[in-house]
Amino acid sequence: MDIMKHIKQQIESNPIILYMKGTPEFPQCGFSSQTAQALLTTGAQFAYVNVLEHPDIRQNLPHYADWPTFPQLYVNGELVGGCDIVLDMYQNGELQQLIDGAAQSQA
């Protein structure tokens, strides 16, 4: 399948999906680590893609998203942001709200 279509389908079929370097258990980048940690505190289940194991996604997602760096968090098909935005939202409580809403719409 065309990689852009594959990415689109992946983002749209997972209510919460994190593209990161490494995995939540074994992150391989400080920014990915902090973002995954923040997401784990919400208690919600989320999908993730280790872009280090998917060079095609690592190369093409930045073009798809118009966003050059990782991690990238998507909720309900929308880019929420990278590490800075997610941590900011974690600190002011917005992340929990957003994730709770996404989990509800999924149920």
Partner: protein, 82 residues
């Protein structure tokens, strides 16, 4: 890439941008950007504007990471307790 180069690129692409930037190793940076261009935009859109100003410097690894904080002039003034 040094902090001055990044500062200039951002200033060249955003209206009346104020850029506070730090970086010790020429590939990892931390920046605070204040510009009226951010008014009415989401944070994702604000960050995209800054990324667009920096163009291919991410793709070609001139910049490995940029910790970014974007603010409208009004929000920045409130934040700094004006």
């Amino acid at each position: 890439m040094n902090t001055e180069q990044i500062k200039h690129l951002i200033e060249a692409h955003l209206t009346d941008a104020q850029v506070i930037i730090r970086g010790d190793d020429e590939v990892h940076f931390e920046a605070i950007v204040i510009s009226p261009d951010f008014i009415g935009k989401t944070r994702v859109q604000q960050h995209r504007l800054v990324y667009a100003a920096l163009g291919e410097n991410f793709g070609n690894q001139s910049i490995h990471a940029l910790a970014l904080s974007t603010h409208t002039p009004e929000a920045w003034q409130q934040r700094s307790g004006g």
